[in-house]
Amino acid sequence: MPDRTVLRVDGLDVHAGSTPLLQDVSFAIDRGERVGLIGESGSGKSLTALSVMGLLPEGLGATGDVRLAARTPAEHNLLALGERALARMRGDGMSMVFQEPMTALNPTMRVGAQVAEVMLLHRTRSRRAARERAVELLEQVGLPDPAHVARAYPHELSGGQRQRVVLAIALANDPALLICDEPTTALDVTVQATVLDLVVRGVEARQAALLFITHDLGVVATVCERVLVMYGGRIVEAGPVQDVFGDPRHRYTQGLVAASDLSGADGRRERARLPTIPGSVPPAGRFPAGCVFRTRCAHATDVCATPPPWTPRGEHPAGATAYGYACFHPAGGEEDG
């Protein structure tokens, strides 16, 4: 694994019994890189994150190779590690922020103590230093009067304030990898703007790798440099945000970008019909063989019944999976009509 690589996921498959949920998911994230993971509901974003964190729900099996270079070099496949070894890494070398902050907070414990606890747990600081550092961290995530907030219980805080506390906990041990799964979906837009800013500042200050999950293209373009597009449990396209959204190759990405765009490039689209993708996302296990998008794709031909190979689109420091697509009849370039 090259020096700068923090996370490398190779050929990750996740299945529930005989139902495949993720198939051949491969990507890498470098130090300081902010990578978005987008896709509609049920595309497999959360399962990807949970696989990396070793938090897959009971009954799901994972195969493949997941490596993290954090405190120690990436010697182990995380999928092969036991729960004790993984628990040592969670909250230390890697941490995660979920959509609903209350799932991560203990309702009966003051928030300052919760931020301190994660440092004590991983023995990164003494008790006294951890308490002091907790207040500093609460200040860094923009909470006014952090010493006061430290003594509050979660229910005394607003949704946006709670999410900042969760972010402070996630950043407490300076993780090499931060994963955020829809961290602002439950927040109002004005609060979202602040939290997005704090996430970016937090990872920038630590040169941490960020995997940011959202279904909002505008959010991912605001936060990330690079994006992975997921559909039907596969990564169908990846690359710099500018290229993937500005000039998509995969037909799914093309449809998603067009359907998301309510304003049109220059101001208001005169109440024209919006471009749509026909049909809807099938439930797990009901995606077609070959290209998973083929049942909704206007460009599908017979060859699409076989799995489309990954076509690299250009050089990228994070490797071949960082910039490319898996489509037989790609959009864009001179081919596009």
Binding site: D216, V219, R269, L274
Partner: protein, 290 residues
């Protein structure tokens, strides 16, 4: 469209709705929530009127008042010139024919034990109309679903299809006014576009007045002619959509607009830092602290 002529579709005069929260202590009085505060507005026939605002600003409460599902603590509400604010539900049968609702989550508003046929026919049966077979098929077709859907149950459909079914049901009594509360907020982006197109089609095709609520400014912008920005129960600004977008007057409107992580803006280089800074700059009157 006959805007400006004749009776408006909906008229609100100084409408307020207070809720009394449960007392948390024996010593202090029960706290009062001003969910809607002194809202006055006239929606013309054929207009597409949008309401945007953040969570808890009072949007759903206002829609419930307009739909006669709840009564204001002050003010008057007229639908096509007839009062709804002081009428008990049983006197509002006429309102169900005039005004119909579509909600955010079609799963919780569609009875899982009823066949689609009976769901769509429900408002007709309520009017005492039976043998609605033809009409149900017509309605399903109008929302882009096949007649065979009629014999299935809601859980057999995707979120977008369920929202089509709710629209079909809303159209059943031949209403003049369609009221939609976050109708696309629970949908995937690819399906959201389908449902927005459908709403557009039926509003045009059936000459409806539309009242459309969303927390998503870009959705409201796409759908509506005129927009009210709601905050803490009040309309802080009401303006034609494009005017509101290009020249927002109220600081809160400016803040809301600044907070949208717009894809084009981001691709043009607007970072999370810029976004947060814009919001903070415009929020200096104390709005939007989270």
């Amino acid at each position: 469209m006959g805007e400006g002529t004749g009776t408006p579709a909906v008229e609100l005069r100084g409408v307020s709705r207070q809720f009394r929260r449960r007392r948390t202590s024996l010593l202090t009085p029960a706290p009062v929530v001003d969910a809607v505060r002194d809202v006055s507005v006239t929606v013309a026939r054929g207009e597409r009127f949008g309401i945007v605002g953040e969570s808890g600003s009072g949007k759903s409460t206002l829609l419930r008042l307009v739909s006669g599902l709840d009564q204001p603590t002050a003010g008057e509400i007229l639908v096509e010139g007839r009062p709804v604010h002081d009428q008990p539900a049983r006197r509002l049968g006429w309102l169900r024919e005039t005004l119909q609702l579509v909600f955010q989550d079609p799963m919780s508003s569609l009875d899982p034990r009823m066949r689609v046929r009976d769901i769509v026919a429900e408002p007709l049966v309520a009017q005492g109309r039976h043998d609605n077979r033809e009409r149900v098929h017509e309605l399903l077709e109008a929302v882009g679903m096949s007649a065979e859907a009629a014999d299935r149950y809601p859980h057999q459909f995707s979120g977008g299809q369920r929202q089509r079914i709710s629209v079909a049901r809303a159209l059943a009594p031949g209403p003049d006014i369609l009221v939609a509360d976050e109708p696309v907020s629970a949908l995937d982006v690819s399906v959201r576009a389908q449902v927005l197109n459908l709403i557009d089609e039926v509003v045009d095709g059936f000459d409806l007045t539309l009242i459309f609520v969303s927390h998503d400014l870009s959705v409201v912008r796409h759908v509506c002619d005129r927009v009210a920005v709601m905050r803490r129960g009040e309309f802080v600004e009401v303006a034609p959509t494009e005017q509101l977008w290009n020249d927002p007057q109220h600081p809160y409107t400016q803040q809301l607009l600044a907070a949208v992580p717009d894809l084009h803006g981001a691709l043009a280089g607007r970072t999370a830092r810029d976004l947060a800074a814009d919001v903070a700059r415009r929020g200096q009157d104390g709005a939007g602290t989270g």
